[in-house]
């Protein structure tokens, strides 16, 4: 999977879970500050991402995933 494909997949999840407009999702965007994803929704995003990309994202890693790019890198490394 390319980084673009992972970003697109995350954008689909973010739209479903938190109502984020897909066009707003880019690697530089912060989940909380730019995309308004609250902590409970972030839990949903993580679980949906695990399912979609077939990876494990432990809770202690989630705090390091500040931006979409962080998440893309983590998923890319795991898959």
């Amino acid at each position: 999977m390319t980084r673009d494909e992972i970003t697109t997949g995350l954008a689909e999840i973010l739209e479903e879970v938190a109502g984020v407009t897909p066009d707003d999702v880019a690697e530089g965007k912060s989940f909380t500050d730019d995309l308004d994803v609250d902590s409970l929704s972030m839990v949903e995003v993580v679980v949906a991402a695990e399912e979609k990309f077939g990876v494990k994202i432990p809770d202690n890693e989630v705090q390091n995933l500040k931006t979409v790019g962080d998440a893309v890198s983590y998923i890319e490394a795991q898959s």
């Binding site: 879970v17 938190a18 109502g19 409970l40 929704s41 839990v43 949903e44 679980v47």
Partner: protein, 408 residues
């Protein structure tokens, strides 16, 4: 004792009869039934396959992402209270949020969420259980969401007294204003538990009508052929306001909430007292609290759920506490039984009866029970000048709540 005057300045509802108060009231005056067949697959195995389902689905009104975080009972509580809030014209009134309270209860709470998340837990494991589960199923969830929507900061309360919940929540709202803790309280009830488990539970108690082939005729309070209540879903809300506060801002006043009476039976967990002793005391207290003569109460919106025992116990209580002059109605014949929301919806019907001078009908009263020795607006709305009216609500657990509304 003289009380602070409390008036009603806003109404809101989403019910099996309509998506708002106006459509619900029109349907009531026309004697329409909100009961229909249950079509989901799970209904096939149930002895009861009818219910009074919402006329307007909340998905038509609320944003999809927001709905993911709301139990159905919370979603409809928000819809009803937003209507009441807008109706009261309080949005841009400059009301201090620290003087605004919320009292919204539910009889059963977020059961649909509990059951749906349990399905997910069983099928996919604990990690897939939604992080929104707890705020969706907690009993105070509807009140808390309403408080959040309105920015209420004088206290957000959740009353739970089964089918008396809506009326008790309204009483608490009145008490908050009388005690000086708030100037405005948005009060009411909400319920959304049309699902196979609650239906199976109620029907195992033999409390529900099994008239599956004639849904519209299933809810028939005081009729000889009644065989139990029909489960309904919905939410109702009223805006209670200190009378001088309402007057100062030139608000439209629907009616005065003159008094309330609350008692408990101390008799049985589900059976009403056969003579309605707790109900008699509640009605008597409400009249005393309202400081009016009982003859002024010429209309009663009865609890009457269409169960064989309960309907007649209430008649005995009304005769003893009020006399034989009032004109009764049971709007559950049309709306079904909204459990924790019923006291709120029926308060709205009582208030509109006073304001419009018309008693909505009790439909399906074709063959009155021999024990029905009071006057009922059977099958047709009846015009009546109503200076004061009573709304009764009783709940499993032996809760009795009587509310007295008077003309503004």
């Amino acid at each position: 004792m003289t009380h602070t005057d409390v008036v009603v300045t806003g109404l809101g509802a989403t019910t099996p009869l309509g998506g708002d108060v106006a459509s619900t009231w029109d349907a009531m005056l026309n004697g329409q039934s909100g009961v229909s067949a249950l079509t989901p697959d799970w209904a096939e195995q149930l002895p009861v396959r009818i219910a009074a389902q919402l006329a307007v689905d909340p998905a038509e009104l609320l944003d999809r992402v927001k709905l993911r975080r709301l139990d159905r009972s919370e979603a409809i509580a928000i819809i009803a209270t937003n209507q009441a809030w807008a109706d009261a014209g309080l949005a841009d009134s400059g009301l201090d949020p620290e003087r605004l309270g919320v009292s919204v209860g539910s009889g059963i709470g977020g059961a649909l969420t509990l059951l749906a998340q349990d399905d997910i837990l069983e099928a996919s494991g604990p990690r897939r259980v939604s992080p929104h589960t707890i705020p969706m199923l907690m009993p105070n969830g509807p009140a808390a969401w309403v408080g959040l929507e309105l920015g209420a900061r004088a206290g957000v309360h959740c009353v739970a007294s089964a089918c008396a919940t809506g009326a008790e929540a309204i009483t608490l709202g009145m008490d908050m204003i009388r005690a000086g803790r708030a100037d405005v309280v948005v009060a009411g009830g909400t319920e959304a538990v049309i699902h196979q488990l609650p239906i199976a539970g109620f029907s195992s108690m033999r409390a529900m009508s099994t008239r599956n082939d004639e849904p519209e005729k299933a809810s028939r309070p005081w009729d000889k052929a009644r065989d139990g209540f029909v489960l309904g879903e919905g939410a109702g809300a009223i805006v209670l306001e200190r009378a001088d506060h309402a007057a100062a801002r030139g608000a439209r006043v629907y009616a005065r909430l003159a008094g309330a009476g609350i008692t408990s039976d101390g008799y049985d967990i589900v059976q009403p007292h056969p003579e309605g002793a707790g109900a008699v005391r509640a009605i008597t207290k409400a009249i005393a609290d309202a400081d009016i003569d009982r003859r002024e109460i010429v209309h009663v919106n009865a609890h009457a759920t269409s169960t064989p025992v309960g309907d007649l116990a209430e008649i005995k209580a009304l005769r003893q506490a009020l006399g034989d002059h009032p004109v009764l109605t049971a709007t559950k014949s049309m709306s079904g039984h909204l459990l924790g929301a019923s006291g709120a919806l029926e308060s709205i019907a009582t208030i509109l009866a006073i304001r419009n001078g018309v008693v909505p009908p009790t439909i399906n009263l074709d063959d009155p029970d021999d024990g029905l020795d009071l006057d009922v607006a059977a099958n047709k709305a009846r015009h009546l000048e109503i200076p004061a009216a009573l709304n009764n609500s009783f709940g499993f657990g032996g809760h009795n709540v009587a509310l007295v509304f008077t003309r503004a």
